[in-house]
Symmetry: C2
Subunit: 386 residues, 2 copies
Amino acid sequence: MISSFHPPQRTLLGPGPSDVSPRVLAAMARPTIGHLDPEFIRMMDETRVLIQRTFRTTNELTLPISAPGSAGMEACFSNLIEAGDTVVVCINGVFGNRMVENVERMGATAVKVEDEWGTPIDPDKLRTALGQHPETKIVAMVHAETSTGVRSDVEALAAIAREHDCLTIVDAVTSFGGIELDVDGWGLDAVYSGSQKCLSCAPGLSPVTFGPRAVEVIKNRTTKSQSWFLDLNLVMGYWGDGSGGGRSYHHTAPINSLYGLHESLVILHEEGLDNAITRHYRNHLALRTGLEAIGLSLLVDEQYRLPQLNTVVIPDGADDALIRRRLLEDHNVEIGAGLGALGGKVWRVGLMGHGSNPTNVYRCLGCLEGLLGESGSVAAARASYD
Amino acid sequence: MISSFHPPQRTLLGPGPSDVSPRVLAAMARPTIGHLDPEFIRMMDETRVLIQRTFRTTNELTLPISAPGSAGMEACFSNLIEAGDTVVVCINGVFGNRMVENVERMGATAVKVEDEWGTPIDPDKLRTALGQHPETKIVAMVHAETSTGVRSDVEALAAIAREHDCLTIVDAVTSFGGIELDVDGWGLDAVYSGSQKCLSCAPGLSPVTFGPRAVEVIKNRTTKSQSWFLDLNLVMGYWGDGSGGGRSYHHTAPINSLYGLHESLVILHEEGLDNAITRHYRNHLALRTGLEAIGLSLLVDEQYRLPQLNTVVIPDGADDALIRRRLLEDHNVEIGAGLGALGGKVWRVGLMGHGSNPTNVYRCLGCLEGLLGESGSVAAARASYD
């Protein structure tokens, strides 16, 4: 006999999902209504506006894909790419490699611009690659690499792409709502994000936005996109063009998850996007100060660090798996393991959205202090707030 | 300023989403934990067992796709089909046509076996088509056509497919948990369903199952499937093989939605699958009796009717849109409009999952009585329960 599941109360300080706000949890438990109900459509329109504000864009084609960030990525690639296209993919972590998988499965050619894990994409390398591949249609890049904690300079990379008449696809899953991201100001063409990072919403949705150049490409495809589910020419019919006009059924929207997304965006804009970005940065500084006080260091050079995802070098002699297990079992704190080449070498400590607060900074530091047998981290962090 | 969204309390008697059980709503509001948390993995294992029981299968490759039923459809087609394959698609409504879209986007050839909307698929037509197309690899069919309220004889159709050495893909979105569906007994190879119909769970997840023949095809593909997000060779690495062994990260699972799915399946099996199927049938009979008492008729011949989705012929002189709007605005009751060729000709009244109960039968009948100016439906329905 299998009975109801009651999860433990964790504090999620890993790479995501982040701690979900109690307001978002409450929103998801509100009564389900139909996906064509006028009240639901009103909420969809509001959600679009809130996503636009968070992306800093006026793009009409702005909506949440009804599936996780990986599907948001696929929505961008499958709608913009046709077989035979050339796509330059900037790779400095797991998610760049996933982009290559997308490109190749669509019968397109991926030209890789690679940098070391833990470093940002070098704009000069992109410039060189575009010089060597004038046939390039799209440049794809990750703003905030969740696998390494690195921020790349998307503004500069996008400017280079534009000089070469290329469209840009940008992974903003972990940057959305946590660091500066200016879709219109930077001239980005297609951007996808996720609900489960700096929005403090449950995982499962991927806000996306497409600029006018991208929409032109989508409307003028010579072949249908591979995916019916993600075909924006069809999805647009349901989400509408922003005019509040007619809606046609495409797929059944994940109603309650969308309640949660709406609430998370309301919370973000109550605080103010700029204030939220500042808060992420301040708590990052406090965490860093505390980590340094007990002799821990961050993998990434200061200027490229993501405040919402801190990649901590595991000190010599520390048992990676044991410490993560004791954090979880004894303290109900989850942090992330290193991925790929960084497995066993780093921990990934997320301070995202709702979870980016002094309580979590102290908690994380206190637990690490206790498990590593060092001391003084919390006092140092506290001093950094003063 | 956009503020929190508070949906009205509707009674959802359309084609889905159906009314979500309060227990499921409460489950979705439980604290989010990580997708690699041991407690979450334990819940995933339980969820797989519960889905297997509901499909009546022992298939190891049984899991919920992290997106709505349309993505579950696409998971079946994109994993089993390679470019150049021939697929016979049985069409008697909207969802058969969507299958054709899937097949064609994958570079395969769709051979259509068509029947009138409102009637089931004729097994003889399938036999003829397979005789004419011996190259056919897969036969695709819809068990319960949500657009028309028709049940096709999947057991018979699958037997014919097997005689011709074809695999089967079956759409069980609306049948899952509402009428008899016996994946192993009927020898079905790939079956997808949805959370938002007879499970009374929120929309957004698609339980799927793949039998050994389908798994062989997936493992022996000569090309990668088009979708990275839906590639079961990768998804299997996260959901595991049922042994409880290692898990690798694929995408971030929609944690809270999965809490809801788990709870909906627990509720279903507390009642018992057979009991739930009987309940759907009894409430359908009462609804039918009441509808007939006020002169309304069902579109579909009795032997092919879906108890969970009743296609009511709109009587002459009744204003389709007005009546649906007044049901919604005055009574908070949602019923479905006709789709495609049946637009303006039928209403679709769902009695699904939690929502299949005498209270909703009376409520729906009472409202229709009032709006149509007839009487006696509720008394007739009540008599049918005795």
